[in-house]
Structure formats: C-alpha cells, structure tokens
C-alpha cells in the first residue's frame, strides 16, 4: 500500500511539473488564434516527451547514467562539447524566461516593479533549492502546479463544441505558415529537453534501480499524459473564451483570464498560484538541468542528494545560471519573446541529445534485458524522424512568421 502511495505521489508531481511558461503561452495563443484546429499537435509532443523520458529514465535506472553522461560517452568530447554548448544556451534562455514568468505572476499578485520581483523571485527559488532535499523540491512545485486544473475545469465549464473538438485531432489541410509555426511551437513546448535532463538525473539522485522501472514507465506515460490534458485544457478554454472575442494573448497575465471569466476571483487566484508553482518549478528544473549537464560532461561530483558543499562546482553552476538568467532579464527583454525563442531553439537542439539516449537504450551491452523492446524501438525511431523534421522546420518558420508576430 505504501508503495502504491509513493508511486501515486510521484506521478502527481510529474503531472504538476509538466507545464511551464512555454506551454502556458503556446497553448493559450494557439487556442486563441486557431480554435481547436491545433489540438492534434499536443499529443504528438506529449507522447514524444513520454518516449524520451521513459528511455532516459530506464537508462538511468539500469546503467546509472543520466542524459549528459550518455551524450559524453557516445558522442565523445568534441561533438559532445558542441551539444553541451547548444543545450546550455537554450537552457539559459529557458531559465531566464521562467524567472521572468515568476516575476510577472508575482507582479500580478502584488503590483510592484518587474525587476524587483525578478530579483526576489530568483532569490526565493535559490533559497528553496538550497534548503530543500531533491524529492521535496519536486513535490512542492509539482503539487502546487496542480491548481492549473482550474483551466481544464474552465474548458469543460464553457461546454466545448465537441464536434469542432473532434475536428481538431487532424491537421487542417490548407493552412498558413503561422498555423505551422504554432504546430511546431506546441510540439516543442511539450518536448522541452531540460525536463528530460532533470528527470533522468533525478532518477540517479533517487537511486533508481531496475526495480523502479514500473515507476519510471508510469511517470512517463501517466504523469506526462495527464500533464498533456492541462495543455489541452488551456487550448480549449482559449478557443472558447478568446477566439470568438478576438483576444490575442500576448501577455502571461492574459492566460489567467481563462479561469477568472468562469470562476471569478477564486479562479483567478487558483490560476495565478498554479502558474507561479509551475513556472517556478520549471525555473528550478532548468537551472538544475544546466548544472547537471556541465557536471556530467566534465565528470564533477553532482547532485542534490549531497549538501551544497558536497558538490561545490555543481552548486556554483546552478547559482551561476540563476545569475546569468537574471542578467538577461535585466536587459529589458520581454520574457514572452524569450519564451518563444527558447522553445523554438530547444527543438532545434533536441535531436542531438535524443539520439545518444536512443542509441544506449537499444544497446544490449549496456542495457541487457532492459534494452528497447518492440514498442520502444518503433516509437523511438519514429520520434527521431519527427524530431528531425520539426527541428528542420523550426527556424524557417520562426523567421517566416517573425516569431509568431504574423
């Protein structure tokens, strides 16, 4: 019984931890612009992150190797270094965008200058990370993010047009570049690679063994699957409340209106709280993902299971990334622009980190009986192809649509 409870708690944390500023922005904008017609893109992204996370979690449990360990061993030093620099760059943009998101939500609660809240938000997150053990961090932000289900409730409350929803499961044939830009953005937002670096390193932190493979599978399939429902909730609610009114949600605060309209102040507060925890959690994950990447690549001691002084270079790395993320925000760049760039550039770098994991997951030398089975093999390669296509399409679409500006 205790085991079941533990598994359930882990899954719940995975659900709440699924959404970040990129999901909030892209799903809401997609619903407001294109109604239900882009719904098909969400499951593509969600299954993709599930496949990637399941494989990297399995590799972590069986071989004790998190993602960047695998990248270093499989790609070697020089190619690995290129992948490292590319991932750190998009990671930094993501972290900066998430800190900015935290600052915006705090601003919506308390109305004070953005820069002040960016600073306070970052300091608050650093303090939480410093004193809280790994599992605590995961749970705190994961559970807090669950109030985002208010958006799913809002979507259902408004009685969606199920017929139109049904049409959303297939792409629209004659569609604009903007439509495809949003399709790529939605897939990319679900597939943010920092989540996987964090997830697989977390598996090693928690000392996973092959006995934990069921937990891993449930986290990846059920946790991320239900997390995807949150994304769809945002899109469907925006399709009902924003598209007919002609609202273009260009601000993070606009997202919260989706809950305020049906549920008033309670809905608003729940939405803002959920956003605060989800985005704050993503900031923590992104900063850790960066530190994990460097430490694993260079072979430093790493991990939250040690005290900050037990893995000092790792500690320095995540502190430094918080500082750099803040510095980017201080230039006055709009966090939502940062979000778009970080999401789209992430997907460009994604195949580079995905391939080494796929290659290890299928390799019986390292994985023994836990190597990719039939389903994982087919899905694994299918997603490699999808990722390459999406990665190749991303940059031209970004330029052609002026970053979604139309």
């Amino acid at each position: 019984m205790k085991v079941v409870l533990r598994i359930a708690l882990g899954i719940i944390a995975a659900i709440g931890g699924f959404v970040d500023i990129g999901d909030l922005v892209f799903n809401t904008q997609a619903g407001a612009q294109f109604g239900y017609t882009l719904m098909w893109a969400v499951p593509i992204g969600v299954v993709g992150i599930g496949v990637y996370a399941e494989m990297s979690g399995r590799v972590a449990a069986v071989t004790k190797r998190p993602v960047f360990d695998v990248i270093r061993m499989r790609m070697g030093l020089s190619s690995g270094l290129v992948v490292l620099v590319a991932s750190l760059f998009v990671n930094l943009l993501t972290l900066s965008a998430e800190i900015g998101g935290v600052a915006i939500v705090l601003q919506l609660f308390f109305d004070a200058p953005f820069t002040l809240f960016a600073l306070l938000g970052a300091l608050g997150l650093i303090t939480i990370i410093w004193f809280t053990p790994f599992e605590g961090i995961e749970r705190l932000f994961g559970y807090g993010g669950l109030t985002l289900f208010v958006f799913v409730a809002a979507a259902l409350h408004e009685q969606p047009d199920w017929h139109a929803v049904g049409h959303g499961v297939v792409p629209e044939a004659p569609s604009s570049t903007l439509y495809w830009y949003f399709a790529v953005g939605l897939i990319a937002a679900a597939l943010m690679p920092y989540e996987v670096y964090f997830y697989s390193s977390g598996g090693v932190e928690e000392g996973w063994t092959p006995k934990d493979l069921l937990v891993n599978r449930l986290n990846a399939i059920v946790g991320y699957g239900i997390g995807g429902v949150l994304s769809l909730g945002l899109m469907v609610a925006a399709a009902q409340l924003f598209e007919p009114a002609g609202v273009e949600p260009d601000h993070l605060g606009t997202v919260a209106l989706l809950a305020q309209i049906p549920y008033g102040e309670t809905g608003l507060v729940l939405a803002l709280l959920g956003m605060l925890f989800a985005i704050g959690g993503a900031a923590v994950d992104a900063s850790f993902a960066a530190a994990y990447s460097i430490a694993q690549f260079a072979g430093w001691e790493w991990g939250k299971y040690r005290r900050p002084s037990g893995a000092p270079r790792f500690t320095c790395a995540w502190l430094l990334f918080f500082a750099l993320g803040l510095a980017i925000l201080m230039t006055g760049i709009d966090p939502l622009d940062l979000t778009e760039y970080s999401v789209v550039l992430s997907v460009v770098a994604l195949p580079l980190t995905y391939l080494p994991v796929l290659l290890i997951a299928r390799d019986r030398t390292f994985m023994g009986d836990y190597a990719n089975g039939q389903i994982a093999r087919v899905l694994g390669w299918l997603y490699f192809v999808i990722l390459v296509v999406v990665a190749l399409a991303a940059i031209p679409l970004l330029l052609a649509t002026n970053a979604g500006g139309g």
Partner: protein, 120 residues
C-alpha cells in the same frame, strides 16, 4: 571488467568514481605505453580540462587551449596509474580515494566557503 574490450567504446569518456563513491573526473584520454614492433599496454588514465585540446579537431585546438588551459601535468591534467583502477563497468572505479590521487581538487577547494553557510 571484461577480458577484452574496446577503449573508445567502453573506457574513454567514462566517469571516474573513487572508493568513497565520489565522482572525480572523466577518462579524458588514455596513456598507452610501448611502440610499434613491441607490445603496447595501458599505462594510465588522464583526466582534467588540460586534455581537451588534444581531443578536439586540429583547427580548434588553439581556442580550446585558451578556454580550457594547456596540458600541465599535476595542474590541469591528472594521471591515474592503471593499477589504481579497480574495475570498468558503468563507471571506472578506483581502489583509492580521490584526494590521494589529486583528483577532484577544485571541488575540495570550493567546499569550504559553502560549508560556512547555513544549510551548506
């Protein structure tokens, strides 16, 4: 460890872990002792950022030396003699402690300021 294995596939770029389970560098290069016409054996493992330049395509080596430092034994590169290697599996485990092999020195130096902080 296996009786026969391939260096790049199984040993190069792997994580080195000391007897206390502390991660203390990666196998950044391997020293082979011998010459053509006579046996060539593994002499030791090299680890540290000073090895990076030699691992990178020639045109970028100058840049790498600027970024990561040149190969200075005892400073940017540490040598682990092969007899110190206990096993090669998921990680490369050592018989001894990192401190005795001068590995992970930067981590130890940075440790003190953090230890003074609450919760550190």
């Amino acid at each position: 460890m296996d009786d026969r294995f391939d260096l790049v596939y199984r040993l190069l770029d792997e994580q080195i872990v000391d007897v206390d389970g502390r991660r203390c560098g990666r196998v950044d290069d391997i020293e082979l002792v011998g010459a053509p016409g006579e046996p060539l054996r593994i002499g030791g493992l090299l680890t540290g950022r000073g090895t990076y330049a030699a691992r990178i395509p020639r045109p970028f080596r100058g840049l790498a030396r600027t970024l990561f430092g040149a190969d200075v034994r005892g400073a940017t590169v540490q040598r682990v003699p092969w007899p110190e290697v206990e096993d090669v599996r998921a990680t490369v485990s050592l018989y001894g402690r990192a401190v005795d092999l001068a590995l992970g020195r930067d981590d130890r130096e940075l440790q003190r300021p953090f230890q003074r902080l609450p919760g550190g």
